[in-house]
């Protein structure tokens, strides 16, 4: 029986109809083979639009539906559901995109209309070959994996755990807390960072539903939404966490000191060390690269002095497989290393600091005990703060890092507060971006504290004095773009507001989880506006700055969003899995086993008895690698089989030609 196809061409307001003659496309479609009805409508995705389809299915006995509108990545599901409501199997539907791929990109209306006609013809031709398919329903494992234990990961883990679901939390470092634990105060409220982050970190440690794994990384992920298996590698800490009481005697007795990463190189740490007394867990960690015992086999001062006998040099790397239904990625950000931007003199002049270093200078447990001091121990009389270092810069990062203006204002205030009102503070900015709640107010407040703002990106920081006043100082050379004249400002200290950027291993981590990175290097969300926490991979969500620069409130809100999405899957307990997987026709398969080696998911097995290959549908992801290669044509992807693709091609390869208008009489 020939199919009865309904074709629906959308105007999308004027988004499509402004360039494509939607009515003409529908008229053209009505003349195509097997088309029972073709209509155009203002907004197909609206309720009346969908109702039109449902009504036609019921009243006209349509057996196939084609919608020509926006990208199927937006509304394919909407229309599939409409078909289903009308009583039609959702796979007897085909959508073609005449907006993103046509009306928005083809300049000439006649050409755009012709292209839309071709696309509709291809969809109509293809839909003839569609078959009924049924989604599989699979259970969702109730546990969730959270990767990264910064403030975002902490928020996500707590939200999920408090709903009663179990969370496996994997943190690469020795403690959770992330960058926030390096700060002293946070803008715009000037809350003490530790006072607001410590209770959350402790809550993680005390939450019975959270299995916290530090010194750990996920090395492999297998499975699919609802049923992921993650392999976690835990590096040795060389201290037994169950025995250690966190007294810190080992750190006192350890004879070996090296520069501290946590102090951003400004202070030292021992070979056995801990970021801060508030670390969670508060067990120190022995760094195998600097520990004398682990390198040379002698010393053991910590072991002799540990009152709990917790030091264990025999600890080995270990692996653990966990089963989870969903995954939240919260791996955070790195800051840009300003050394290559040699004009700012970082690494050359001792008094040029990064933002994170300046945070440590302010931190009560930092290298200066929270006093803003130069390397010579004196307080700076004048400080220049350079905004947008590596941000909004075509040669580094085009984007705005979203936090630098605000933490610069925080530093302005802290300098005035700690060094004294006489201290002179100069901000070199491009634009002030104070968009958050309470941010503009904070800006105003800092302005009133007597801070100087100079609009212009400095050309260089130099120690070459040109006058008496500049002797022994750092000179910031810039153009004040508001006054249109060059300025030279001599200061004691320079702080660089370096860009937030993607973790340097972001692309490798993305690969482990099967997500992508955007052009800026951060993990790519499913949709920039409507899907900022989900990814293209079902069951994997993003939280915090791994998706792009954010301040703490935004990172926390984003994380709660990711947790909510993971929870909605976990709470529902089941997920429907697309039936568009591969199938091997046993009557055609010649048993060459070509496909077995091609399948990246080991979903194909050879049936010795029947001497043909068989697909395990639960493991097949529908990538089509087998079908693309099968020499006999036995392996076919459902919904993307040979007949369907051939039919689509037949529609597509029609040639577009300008023709002479037929005489009016011919049209009737």
């Amino acid at each position: 029986m020939p199919s009865r196809i309904g074709v629906y061409v959308c105007h999308c307001g004027t988004n499509i109809a402004g360039r494509v003659d939607s009515e003409g496309v529908a008229r053209h479609a009505s003349g195509l083979k097997n088309v029972a009805v073709a209509r155009d409508y203002k907004f197909m995705c609206s309720d009346p639009g969908q109702d039109m389809i449902i009504k036609d299915i019921r009243e006209m006995g349509l057996t196939r539906v084609v919608v020509a509108s926006c990208s199927p990545r937006l509304h394919e599901k909407t229309f599939q559901k409409a078909c289903q409501r009308g009583g039609l199997n959702p796979f007897l539907f085909q959508m073609t995109c005449i907006r993103e791929h046509c009306s928005w990109v083809v300049a000439d209306p006649a050409e755009a209309t012709a292209k839309a006609k071709t696309l509709v013809a291809a969809a109509v031709s293809r839909v003839n070959e569609h078959e009924e398919l049924y989604s599989r329903v699979e259970a969702v494992h109730p546990d969730v994996l959270v990767v990264g234990g910064g403030i975002a990961g902490i928020q996500a883990a707590l939200d999920i755990a408090r709903s009663g679901h179990k969370v496996h939390m994997v943190e690469r470092g020795p403690s959770i807390g992330g960058h926030m634990t390096q700060f002293d105060k946070t803008f715009p409220t000037l809350d003490c960072a530790a006072c607001i982050s410590t209770p959350k970190m402790v809550a993680v440690a005390q939450e019975p539903n959270i299995n916290l794994m530090t010194m750990s990384e996920v090395v492999e992920v297998k499975g699919y939404v609802g049923n992921y298996t993650a392999r976690i590698r835990t590096k040795p800490r060389y201290i037994n966490q169950d025995r250690c009481t966190g007294c810190g005697l080992c750190m006192e007795k350890c004879p070996k000191s090296v520069p501290s990463e946590f102090e951003e190189g400004l202070g030292k740490r021992k070979a056995v060390h801990r970021n801060s007394p508030q670390s969670v867990p508060n067990t120190p960690v022995i760094d195998p690269a600097s520990c004398i015992y682990l390198v040379k086999g002698k010393c053991g001062a910590c072991k002799q002095n540990c009152p709990s006998d917790a030091i264990d040099f025999e600890q080995q790397e270990s692996f653990l497989d966990v089963q989870v239904g969903t995954i939240v990625l919260a791996t955070g950000f790195d800051i840009l290393d300003p050394t290559p931007l040699s004009q700012y003199g970082f690494g050359r002049y001792p008094e040029v600091y990064t933002g994170l270093q300046f945070e440590r200078l302010n931190n009560a447990v930092g290298p200066t005990g929270g006093k803003i001091r130069m390397k010579n121990g004196e307080a700076p009389e004048s400080v220049a703060i350079i905004h947008c270092v590596g941000s909004r810069d075509k040669n580094q990062h085009e984007y705005c890092s979203r936090v630098c203006c605000m933490y610069a204002l925080k530093y302005d205030h802290l300098i005035k507060d700690k060094v004294g009102h006489h201290a002179r503070v100069y901000n070199f900015y491009i634009d002030m971006r104070c968009f958050g709640k309470g941010y503009e107010e904070f800006y105003r407040r800092v302005q009133e504290e007597g801070v100087t703002f100079i609009r212009g990106r400095p050309a260089e920081v130099t120690d070459q004095a040109r006058s008496e006043d500049e002797q022994g100082k750092l000179v910031v050379v810039a153009e004040d773009t508001l006054l249109g004249r060059p300025v030279r400002v001599a200061v004691d200290m320079v702080v660089l507001c370096t860009a937030m950027q993607a973790r340097k291993d972001a692309s490798e981590v993305a690969r482990v989880f099967g997500v992508s990175c955007g052009q800026d290097g951060f993990f790519l969300e499913e949709h920039p506006k409507l899907g900022p926490v989900s990814t293209a991979t079902d069951g994997i969500f993003l939280a915090g700055t791994c998706q792009g620069p954010k301040d703490i409130p935004d990172a926390v809100a984003h994380a709660s969003g990711g947790a909510g999405q993971a929870l909605s899957l976990a709470a529902r307990g089941e997920v429907s899995i697309s039936p568009t997987v591969s199938w091997i026709n046993p009557d055609i398969c010649i048993g060459c086993k070509m496909c077995v080696g091609l399948c990246a998911y080991s979903a194909i097995e050879f049936d010795e008895r029947r001497r043909v290959c068989v697909i395990n549908e639960a493991m097949c992801k529908g990538c089509g690698s087998c079908a693309g290669h099968c020499p006999s044509g036995a392996a076919q992807i459902r919904h993307f089989n040979e007949k369907q693709v051939f039919a689509e091609l037949e529609g597509l390869t029609q040639r577009i030609v300008p023709v002479r208008q037929p005489a009016a009489a011919d049209l009737t």
């Binding site: 791929h101 990538c623 089509g624 690698s625 091609l649």
Partner: protein
């Protein structure tokens, strides 16, 4: 007014002397290049109308038969585009595509099809500008190359 119609269904005669408008079929993967095409659209990047997409789940799904079918069925050229090496949503489908396309490019010239009519590119999900540039440059190359003449191919 002059209207553009699609043949063969359309009646009427091609205007003599009308410029050659190639038909180019692009097999693109859903996860990267199709997404990039959406982004190019959302960003209103003007593109040649000659390229029409076939949405595949992965380039690893593109059976060489499909490419040959497109060329014999009237396409003047075929573009295959997916995720960058290492970024394939299905681990390594794009490597398989790369191997198949390479072989095809060696074989097709023996049957009289210029290998320049096939192009394989990697365009990531965020590279809308890259997508538009690829479409426009490929369309220009094929316009230069002229129409495919399948009737003269020894294959048939």
């Amino acid at each position: 007014m002059q209207e553009l119609i699609v043949t063969p269904e359309a009646q009427g005669e091609p205007m003599p002397g009308a410029a050659f408008e190639p038909a180019i079929v692009a097999f693109v993967c859903n996860w990267c290049t199709y997404t990039a095409a959406d982004l190019a659209g959302t960003s209103r990047m003007v593109q040649s109308p000659n390229v029409r997409l076939v949405r595949m789940m992965c380039t690893g799904m593109v059976d060489p038969k499909y490419i040959i079918k497109a060329l014999l069925g009237g396409a003047d050229a075929v573009l295959i585009s997916g995720c960058h090496p290492g970024d394939c949503h299905y681990i390594n489908g794009n490597y398989k595509a790369r191997r198949r396309v390479k072989l095809l490019m060696e074989i097709l010239p023996r049957f009289g099809i210029d290998s320049r009519r096939i192009k394989l590119t990697w365009v990531g999900a965020s590279e809308g500008n890259e997508f538009a540039a690829t479409v426009n440059s490929f369309a220009a190359e094929i316009k230069e190359l002229g129409p495919i003449d399948t009737r003269r191919l020894p294959l048939l």
